[in-house]
């Protein structure tokens, strides 16, 4: 499979978080189907030129969050129960959070946001 995780060096998020979000986005968009194998740690480390332990950490957390599962010696796979909709929801929530943060920092108060949500 083509690795479509892109690291953005101007991004304030740590690299392992960028990898996690990248995998989640691929699941959400269907670029990774349930049951599909993720790129191996070695392969991804060599491909992105980053420390394999960073990738291992991202995979471990994705596993704890239920997005993927690992089979000893075979690699990591996209969970069956993680429906694309779940991952998509999570992605949208993240966009919502960052938009809300931006609005709050622009001086819009919480009540105004709540009024908008209720509309």
């Amino acid at each position: 499979m083509r690795v479509i995780i892109q690291l953005d060096y101007r991004d304030a998020r740590p690299i392992y978080v960028q990898i996690k979000d990248g995998v989640k986005r691929m699941i959400a968009t269907g670029a990774l189907a349930p049951g599909e194998r993720l790129p191996g740690i070695r392969e991804l480390a060599a491909n992105l030129s980053i420390n394999p332990n960073t990738i291992a950490r991202a995979y471990k957390e994705l596993e704890q969050e239920g997005y993927i599962y690992s089979v000893g010696g075979k690699g990591s796979f996209v969970s069956q129960e993680t429906t694309a909709a779940d991952a998509q929801k999570e992605q949208a929530m993240q966009r919502f959070d960052s938009a809300a943060r931006e609005l709050l920092s622009l001086g819009v108060d919480v009540e105004e946001l709540i009024r908008r949500l209720e509309k």
């Binding site: 304030a12 480390a45 060599a46 491909n47 980053i50 420390n51 332990n53 920092s105």
Partner: protein, 296 residues
């Protein structure tokens, strides 16, 4: 495992290294950073057994590295200044390496040919600095060392080649569990590849820490506080500066803690940002002091 214990080295009256200690484990990448003249290259020359320690020890799996061919056979060294025989091309150097390093793999050498794409017959001295560096990587990686000691490894390489070489080294870490020790001034790049960093200053190792902990426990805060607000006394402030109404703080705590403690002051603006390795370096070594500003 590489262990450096209380390593001291003096040249005449100059103490280049003073009681330096650290460890590097297999499957891990350890970055060695510090200002010019901090002792990085002196330390590295001990790691590869070129210098004899005045005091302390430099061990590979418990055995001293100095004058120990068995240990040196397992170490691949990319020095900042490249050395090849005067008239030798890559093919001839390859035969030299093959005769010295028991781990040399012809198969590995052949498979790396497509990455480097260098003329094997041309004398190496006719190569540019970057091409010589590529040749050094090609030869060293073919020896399949257990430990890589890299002094400014990608200095002089173009961006495509830097990525390719880091990719190969990271592959070695994942596949063969090699130990990597790397000195570099390119902190942005080290951030991607290191598990841990040793920050050196004036011959001492001032910080030896996992990059993850370092970045999780030091944060940058940009905030606009209400008039007359006092910072909570429990906050450990490494640096504080005011630009207009925006206060920039470097704090020794987690992002969550910074947020919790500062929110109680009802700030008008509160942004908590992770620190880059470059920023950690600058704040730890006091590069942001007035000294450097006076020049400008």
């Amino acid at each position: 495992m590489i262990e450096v214990k209380g390593l001291t080295k003096r040249f005449d009256n100059f103490t280049a290294l003073e009681a330096a200690s650290f460890t590097a484990e297999p499957g891990r990448v350890c970055g060695i950073v510090g200002p010019n003249g901090a002792g990085k290259t002196t330390l590295i020359k001990h790691l590869v057994g070129v210098y004899r320690p005045d005091e302390g020890s430099v061990l590979l799996d418990g055995a001293p590295i100095f004058e120990n061919p068995a240990a040196k056979a397992r170490i691949g060294y990319i020095p900042d200044d490249r050395f090849f025989f005067t008239k030798a091309g890559i093919g001839e150097m390859m035969r030299q390496y093959r005769s010295f390093y028991p781990g040399f793999s012809q198969e590995k050498f052949d498979s790396l040919r497509q990455v480097f794409n260098l003329d094997e017959k041309q004398p190496l001295r006719k190569f540019s600095k970057g091409m010589q560096k590529q040749a050094a990587f090609w030869l060293t990686m073919a020896c399949r060392p257990d430990i890589y000691v890299l002094d400014e490894p990608v200095d002089g390489l173009d961006p495509v080649m830097r990525r390719a070489i880091w990719g190969l080294i990271m592959g070695e870490v994942a596949e063969r569990n090699v130990t990597v020790l790397v000195s570099s001034h390119n902190l942005r790049e080290l951030e991607d590849v290191c598990d841990k960093v040793c920050i050196m200053d004036k011959g001492r190792i001032v910080i030896e820490h996992s990059l993850e902990d370092l970045q999780a426990n030091t944060v940058k805060v940009q905030t606009v506080l209400p008039q007359g607000a006092e910072l909570p006394a429990e906050l450990k402030v490494l640096s504080r500066s005011l630009m207009g109404r925006v206060t920039t703080l470097i704090l020794r705590c987690s992002a969550a803690e910074a947020k919790n403690r500062l929110s109680t002051l009802n700030p008008i603006l509160l942004d908590v940002l992770p620190l880059t390795l470059e920023e950690i370096f600058i704040y730890e070594l006091g590069g942001e002091s007035d000294e450097s500003k006076k020049v400008v």
